[in-house]
């Protein structure tokens, strides 16, 4: 993500794979390069600090999909890294050499969990849940050969072991209730020894252990911080007897250090500073960060200084702290709201030197809000209205005079003050709707519960609001937060409103221009929300009414108004719900008996069940989708009518057929009647399937495994050459739509896809496609039109169709982000502007990108480089010329007359 307001300049950036392989397990920092282990120990690469280029990369000789990994740096030999990745143990040296790799015995009940290194051995600690034993297997350090193993009885199960045990240097730690067991284990033997010489030392506490953490480990020192359930904190310092230099017989000794202050969510970090061991304790209180700096001495711990830093906003608790003290002491923190904060400690106290909202890379929903009208524009709105002729007249006259006065005052103000308050004026102007309504406020909700208001013209963050306890809905394994525009800026006496919904039954309503909460509209509902719909009706305060369906299929309204008001009276309301456990779509009819009723049960009218295939996604049309014309004029001047059904949804399912061939199905389901209007099946196809449903057409993309290429299929539905009912559409009309389908080969993969939207839908619709290579491509609809003919006829030529070619040729001119490549785009949001030709595009994912596109070129606006001077001078020249021409002409005629 790129946040323009913070002064961080990253000299380079490397984006790894967006799949499991790119997930970083551990980074080990060396002098000039960083060693990055990613994909659960599947790959090791080193990246140079100077320009971010690679030095070397290695992968183990066996490929598998590991679930668990443990990576350690050998403490006796800091250039060696040992990686345990499920059943594989391998070692690399820091200069890019694969030292050895060993495949460990694979058994379903045997799980290899931890690694530790001694001077001669690498020890794998694995749990055999079948015989309840914890096995220590010794591998020789230089060649990796297995030398011996020991086992002890074990009572914990796999998850408990993973959670409560860890290794530090060459000791193995495990917490059980109020004991911390220390297996100073492998110390003893290189000799082939039998079992049971692994006897743990136990530390016993007054209360159960909440958690413990190894906060510092070197060859001679280990610091372990234990937190008890009652929030007591105990620090243990382990140190090694120095007398036995390199032999394994040196045992660790430990001492207990002072118990600190009781802050429930404090975090710790330790670093060496000028020969002293410094421990930093940090905790957040409201909008403040507190730091305590301790010096850890041989047998005591001394508080040396405290710091406090005011934060610019509420960020929640600290998730992670790292203290560095190389040149100047710095602390890097990650906060609950996804912020990255860097604090500098100086002589005069601590100061915040960097703050980045990293949560912007985890946007789950985005909505654009029109900016509010300026006062002048509002007055124009005020002009109209009134009842009697006289009152209307007076109203117009008064408002127009006041407009005139304010205009004069503005000019006077401009002349007097000039540049004095220009900054302020510019800031104000940024928040006022421009002439063509091109600039907007983007309200984005992130998965951590932080909501941002972003100005589209600059990308600046206007406001932020952090909702601490906000959990997104789960929409087919993707987090999603429903975000609704409840009241627009048009009702200017009331502030505009937006609402977001969380899974934990919370509704938050805020003003999209300021981010301020509206207290009386933020509540916790007494029921669990299953789905939220926005109704077309508004209440007395011009707020849109939302229909909430709870887990018991009861319909509620928010704000609470009688249902009869929330539903349109003219058309019956149908609602569909998807049941994940049964893989079924249910359609319901909403009926209201009583006038004052605010909630009702749903009546099922249809049901579509999918068997042997799983629904993986549901796509609906954009709420902003506009259909301008009902048909297409063909070459012979006849009209082909579009089948524009607003009730359609696209359902993508996945499955494996009886021949074990994977397939993907796609259905268009009418949500009023439950009938299927279109069904397509594709065999040997790999998801993800990206779908757009707009107007009367559908476009989807997938990876064809058979031909190893990405393909896009477009399909359009038509009613035919006659229209069943030209005035309105009903799902109950007996129309069987005709379909036209074409498939195209895409040159790149697809990560997100969307269609442009314009105000009236007159402009052609283009497809915006985000590709894994970082481009955003605008593909004209003409190219993916399912009516592209296989052989051109005169009629097709007359209509302007292009001949079908399977390959979509993508020109670099269609790339809308030019040199600014954006990676891992998850979704694209398009919005209409006040100009019919212009559609705004906001792509989000790891990076954010916003631009405007003109699918049919700029037909309603002059070009940027339009030469006003030239036109002006030409007009003047014509006027002057005509004047002189007239004189010359009259002279000429007089002379002629005198002849």
């Amino acid at each position: 993500m790129r946040n323009y307001s913070t002064p961080l300049v990253s000299p380079w950036r490397r984006v790894l794979e967006s799949n499991a392989l790119g997930k970083i397990d551990r980074i080990i920092w060396f002098e000039n390069e960083a060693l990055v282990v990613s994909g659960n120990g599947r790959r090791v690469r080193t990246i140079r600090y100077t320009e971010g280029l690679e030095l070397w990369e290695l992968a183990p000789p066996v490929i598998h999909e590991p679930k668990h990994s443990h990576i350690i740096k050998n403490h006796r030999d800091s250039g060696t890294i040992h990686i345990l990745s499920d059943d594989l143990l391998w070692s690399v040296s820091s200069y890019g050499e694969m030292l050895w790799s060993v495949e460990l015995p694979s058994k379903s009940t045997l799980k290899n969990l931890f690694l530790l290194s001694t001077s001669q051995f690498v020890v794998v600690i694995s749990l055999d849940s079948n015989i309840n034993q914890l096995i220590f297997t010794y591998h020789e350090k230089v060649h990796g050969t297995k030398t011996s193993s020991k086992s002890i009885r074990w009572s914990l199960d796999l998850n408990e072991t993973k959670k409560s045990c860890t290794t530090a240097n060459d000791i193995f730690l495990c917490s059980i209730k109020n004991h911390l067991s220390i297996y100073n284990s492998p110390a003893s033997n290189s000799i082939q020894s039998t079992t049971d010489d692994i006897v743990p030392e136990q530390l016993t506490f007054s209360d159960s252990i909440e958690n413990y953490k190894v906060i510092y480990e070197t060859n001679t020192n280990i610091l372990v911080l234990v937190t008890l359930i009652n929030n007591d904190k105990v620090l243990y310092k382990f140190f090694r007897q120095q007398q036995a230099t390199s032999s394994d017989n040196s045992n660790w000794e430990y001492i207990q250090l002072e118990i600190f202050t009781k802050y429930p969510n404090s975090v710790y970090s330790v670093a060496m500073e000028k020969g002293n061991l410094i421990l930093i304790q940090a905790y957040a209180t409201e909008q403040k960060l507190n730091f305590q700096k301790y010096t850890v001495n041989e047998r005591s711990i001394v508080l040396s200084r405290t710091y406090a830093v005011e934060l610019p906003e509420l960020m929640g608790d600290i998730e992670y702290l790292q203290y560095h003290s190389n040149n100047s002491p710095l602390a890097t923190l990650r906060m609950n709201d996804g912020s990255l904060v860097v604090i500098k400690f100086g002589e005069h106290g601590a100061e915040l030197i960097l703050h980045r909202d990293e949560s912007l890379s985890a946007i789950v929903s985005a909505e654009a809000f029109d900016l509010s009208l300026s006062i002048g524009q509002m007055r124009i709105e005020e002009e109209f209205g009134g009842t009697g002729m006289l009152s209307m007249f007076i109203r117009r006259i008064t408002t127009q005079t006041s407009q005139l006065i304010s205009f004069v005052l503005k000019i006077v103000d401009f002349i007097i003050h000039r540049h004095k308050n220009q900054d302020f004026m510019e800031k104000q102007a940024a928040l006022v709707r421009d002439e063509f309504n091109l600039n907007k406020i983007l309200v984005v909700v992130t998965s951590v519960g932080k909501v941002f208001g972003i100005l589209t013209q600059s990308g600046n963050i206007l406001w932020k609001q952090f909702y601490n306890d906000f959990t997104p809905f789960d929409n087919f394994n993707q987090p999603s937060v429903p975000l609704f525009n409840i009241r627009t800026a048009a009702h200017y006496t009331h502030q505009p409103l937006a609402s977001i919904y969380s899974q934990n039954t919370q509704i938050k309503t805020f003003n999209p221009y300021t981010g301020d909460n509206v207290a009386n509209l933020c509540t916790t509902l007494p029921y669990q929300i299953r789905r939220v719909f926005v109704s077309s009706q508004i209440d007395e305060e011009f707020k849109k009414v939302l229909l909430l369906i709870d887990k018991k299929n009861k319909v509620h309204t928010f704000p609470s108004v009688p249902l009869i008001r929330a539903l349109g009276t003219t058309t019956p309301t149908y609602i569909y719900l998807f049941d994940k456990t049964e893989q079924a779509f249910n359609g319901y009819h909403l009926t209201v008996n009583d006038n004052e009723q605010t909630s009702t049960d749903l009546q099922e009218v249809w049901r579509v069940v999918f068997k042997n295939e799983d629904v993986v996604n549901i796509h609906t049309r954009l709420s902003t989708d506009r259909v301008h014309s009902n048909g297409i004029v063909l070459g012979d001047r006849s009209v082909l009518y579009k089948y524009v059904n607003p009730n359609l949804i696209a359902v993508v399912t996945e499955g494996v057929d009886y021949q074990k061939v994977p397939f993907v199905n796609l259905y268009l389901v009418d949500t009023v009647t439950g009938s299927i209007k279109l069904a397509r099946t594709h065999k040997k196809v790999k998801p993800p399937v990206h779908v757009i449903l707009a107007e009367n057409w559908l476009l989807y993309t997938y990876y064809n495994q058979r031909y190893r290429r990405y393909e896009a299929v477009s399909a359009a539905l038509f009613e035919g050459y006659t229209q069943y009912n030209f005035s309105s559409f009903s799902s109950f009309d007996p129309i069987v739509p005709m379909t036209e389908t074409k498939a195209y080969i895409l040159p790149y993969g697809v990560t997100a896809i969307q269609v442009t939207t314009t105000e009236k839908g007159i402009t052609a619709k283009d497809i915006i496609m985000a590709t894994p290579n970082g481009m955003l491509i605008e593909i004209p609809w003409m190219f993916i039109d399912p009516r592209r003919p296989l052989d051109m006829t005169q009629m097709d030529r007359e209509e302007g169709l292009i001949m079908y070619t399977p390959e979509l040729m993508i020109n670099y001119e269609y790339v809308i982000n030019y040199y600014q490549f954006v990676y891992n785009i998850r979704s694209i949001h398009t919005m209409a502007t006040g100009l019919e030709s212009t559609s705004a595009v906001f792509a989000y994912g790891l990076d954010l990108f916003y631009t405007r596109v003109f699918p049919s070129r700029l037909f309603d606006q002059l070009k940027d480089d339009f030469d006003f001077m030239f036109i002006g001078w030409a007009t003047i020249a014509f006027v002057v010329g005509s004047y002189f021409a007239r004189r010359f002409a009259s002279n000429y005629t007089t002379k002629k007359a005198w002849k």
Partner: protein, 251 residues
Amino acid sequence: MYNILFIWLTVFTVIVHSQSSHDSPAITSEGNGSYKIEGKILIPPGDNSLETTRVLIDDGQYIGIPQVDGTFVVCGIPSGSYVVSVVSPLHVFEPVRVDINVKGKIRARKVNHIQPGEVVTMKYPLNFETHGIPNYFQKREVYRLTDVIMNPMFLTLLVPLLLLLVLPKLASTDPEIQRDFQQASNMLQPNFNNPIPDISDVFANFLGGPKKSKPPQIQGGSGGGSSTSGSGGAVSAAPKRKTTDQTKRKS
């Protein structure tokens, strides 16, 4: 409950050559082993666009980072067929298909989406040469005089104008045609002048208004003749004489 009508239609219209529907026999879809794909990116010296260059294998299933000299290695790839593409905002590179068989033998060939089975082998280790800077921008339209002159609108205006100028000259030599032309122009003249006001007249009226309105004032005998308007002068000459006669008679 509700009858569902499944409309199964023909699925595909992508035209694929019948020969090409066979995959390379040596390659299995289930990959195993761990191999590496190597290559070199050749960009002109002094160009530091290597820092923004990425190596994508199968559209980001595996991602490689180039080294200082432009070489790259992507490790841990099971046998199979992959499209290796080098992506940079500043350079265009052609993608290459790399096949790794179960024994670990690697061959590189041209990417052909229409006929995936076709083999046009390429060099391995891969060499990616830049095909220049991608052209993201359309050329801005520049104002040129030839554009204006060759504009059809301009031509339609120009041709009648030329005819108007040239035709009378041609006709003036022959008296008979001249007469015909005169007649024709007389026929045209009233239509032209009277019902539709001439645009130059309107402008001249608008700009040189006071001067044109002088002649009627002169008729009233208030001022001297205007020198500029010849016709006005001719008209005003007569009444002036009349007034002098009247004064003479009175005297």
